[in-house]
């Protein structure tokens, strides 16, 4: 029991945010008389917020290294969109090749910004503020102020669905099959982890609690799957988000580079003296952030079906807010990818729910701002206790 309390205490912020998310969802479900969780709206919610979810994962790593943020991601999203538009529409380059090219350009941008931040040690805030201006400017130059419409084939990435295996059925079969497989894999991994820990002679949470946890997660997976299945199935962006979430959770929690990022944010001097090459870590984190921005740029331009010079405005702030709502510390070393995802969903549900209710965007912003402040205030106060 002590152990459980310990785990709970250590993760209180994340549980609190998860509970808050569930609470907000129930609240809006009631207020919108059931529209929020309607199949079509769930799908919408995912597609609308894909860019924040993706950017927040990369931003988490930046913040973890010591409260560094990246202000250039919004402009980068627009810049990548502009390049995609130019490559595909103006230059008639094959879509796959064009995507590959913009990802490489993302790497190059990351190397550029990472170099100034990690090796010259100019504060990330300043380097990325410069990046924000530079890439917005370049976007406008490339597009010459015009919006380019993107072809349908490309737009599928942002707005398409994975085709079903059997056509004609009312529910999307593939979605249900995938959900079943994911549930089985999840249960299998949890059981394996448990027996592994037992093998080493460690304490494990008691079996009743363990079963409750398994049931809750599986029910959540199946509910979401059912909802998606009764509309059009699995959105392609969901696959992208899912894959990124898996990769980044794994890297941050289970690998040496992940541990090094946390250590650097916790105390850079100590990390350095413990043999961690902190400059390299910081550099790679910013290269990664630029690549993530490129992915978000692809997904977002596909969703709006065009490359626009005005795309991506304030995206950096949404991503940063998602991380902080999700429990990241402004000084670094604390925060999780899952937390950032929850944070992004909290904001997404708020946006979506208020839109359905017809709340104006002026009030939406005010409320989101207050939510951010409250979430962080809760964090600070709960630590003081």
């Amino acid at each position: 029991m002590e152990k459980i309390k310990d785990i709970f205490r250590n993760n209180i912020r994340q549980y609190a945010m998860l509970i808050a998310l569930v609470f907000i969802m129930i609240l809006f479900e009631i207020l919108t008389s059931g529209v929020l969780l309607k199949a079509q709206n769930v799908t919408n919610l995912i597609m609308q917020n894909a860019y924040v979810l993706i950017l927040a994962m990369g931003m988490t790593l930046c913040i973890l290294t010591g409260g560094n943020i990246d202000l250039s991601v919004g402009s980068l999203v627009a810049f990548i969109g502009a390049l995609i538009g130019t490559f595909i529409v103006t230059m008639h380059i094959n879509i796959v090749l064009a995507i590959f090219m913009v990802l490489l350009i993302g790497v190059a941008v990351g190397i550029w910004q990472g170099f100034w931040i990690a090796y010259v040690r100019i504060p990330a805030f300043i380097v990325t503020l410069a990046g924000m201006l530079v890439f917005r400017g370049l976007t406008t130059t490339i597009l010459q102020g015009q919006t380019i419409a993107l072809p349908d084939k490309f737009d599928k990435i942002g707005a398409g669905f994975i085709p079903d295996i059997i056509s004609g059925s009312k529910l999307n079969i593939l979605t249900l099959v995938v959900a079943a497989i994911i549930s089985v894999i999840y249960i299998f991994l949890q059981l394996k982890k448990r027996s592994n820990r037992k093998g080493y002679g460690f304490e494990v949470p008691n079996s009743a609690l363990f079963i409750v946890q398994l049931v809750l997660v599986v029910v959540a997976i199946l509910l979401i799957a059912y909802s998606l299945a009764s509309y059009s199935g699995i959105p392609i962006v969901l696959v992208i988000i899912g894959a990124l979430a898996l990769i980044y959770s794994f890297v941050t929690t289970k690998t040496v580079p992940g541990r090094q990022i946390y250590a650097m944010g916790g105390n850079e001097k100590a990390a350095k003296l413990s043999g961690i090459k902190t400059n390299k870590v910081l550099f790679l984190v910013y290269v990664n952030m630029a690549v993530i921005s490129a992915i978000a740029g692809i997904v977002f331009s596909a969703r709006i079906a065009s490359a626009s010079p005005l795309a991506g405005q304030n995206f950096e702030l949404d991503a940063i807010a998602a991380c902080f709502i999700g429990g990241a510390s402004a000084t670094g070393g604390i925060g999780t990818v899952i937390g950032a995802i929850i944070g992004a969903l909290v904001m997404g549900v708020l946006n979506n729910g208020m839109s359905i209710l017809g709340v104006g965007s002026d009030w939406q912003q005010t409320i989101k701002g207050l939510v951010l402040l409250l979430a962080v205030a809760f964090d600070v106060l709960s630590k003081k206790k």
């Binding site: 690998t255 040496v256 916790g266 001097k269 100590a270 350095k272 003296l273 043999g275 604390i334």
Partner: protein, 380 residues
Amino acid sequence: MKERPNLLIKDISVGKQQLVEIAKALAKEVKLLILDEPTAALNEEESNNLLNLLLELKKDGITSILISHKLSEVSRVADTITIIRDGATIETLTKGIDDIGEDRIIKGMVGRELVDRFPKRTPKIGDISFEVKDWNVYDPLVDGRKLIKNVSMNIRRGEVVGISGLMGAGRTEFAMSVFGRSYGKHITGTIIKDGKEVTLHNAKQAIDNGIAYVTEDRKSAGLILIDDIKWNTSLSSLDKISKNQVINDNKEIYAVEEYRKKLNIKSSSILQKVGNLSGGNQQKVVLSKWIMSEPDILILDEPTRGIDVGAKYEIYTIINQLADQGKSIIFISSELPEILGMCDRIYVMNEGRIVGELNRDEASQENIMKCIMKSNKEAV
């Protein structure tokens, strides 16, 4: 204090930072002055000056509360001494009525009489394992200022070698520059480990070559206070508990738990944040971290600073055990009794030079000070 007044505080040594702190406190007109380990980072002479200052202040009617682990200071200046252990007041001794000698205070602190302040060890000294030759280091901030001048030293397997010297003698700068050039610039000299010359460009290479460095300031450079014991302990040994960069959780817990038990780290579990541990237990976490990296050479920079007598004894015991396992220990300390009690051989450092080398039987406080004085005279 001999420093340029416009130098930033973060760029001067801990000892000098302490002096600035005290000057700041004295600048306000105080009635009651509370000093928490004011001399922890000071050398004997500076400490003496500070204590005399307290006696002066007493004459002016200023009350001082001195919190200190250095018992000699307490018995020297205090009128009453209150001993606190595990968060409770044990007893209050008054000068003139009770015995306020060091042994009496220790008895109150540990709850029993500590016969020996330093655990006994029969040294089993082997071949030379580590050598530094003609080591020169320049100040990274002030151009052209040489901090370490032609230092050469060696250490054998199973040997505890002390580096003694006054604050600012360059001991920490020397140790850190040897440890993968973590300090200073234009570093020249050779490092020979087990008969082979090695080049260490960063801390990682130093660790891979079996060298460990326990920092002088554990809070700012040794530990990640917001992380737990587990993460702190395994930080410099991540390669050992991972395969293809993926950490084996169970292996990690297993290893860290073992060190927690072995070093008797008082904590609720390995998931406790190190920021919430006492100084002595924090230091044990730092030691676990470096023992886990399985070094051959351990450089300990002020390993017992600011920790209580009981924990000190435990740390001395750990050091002795490591030496018995054939590891070479370089022991840097400002406390002469500690250097004398623990080391098989002592290098005396002053103004960036080695100014004396003393064996255990010829080492004494007087001889160490003599080496320093002699070199000062030569310099003039």
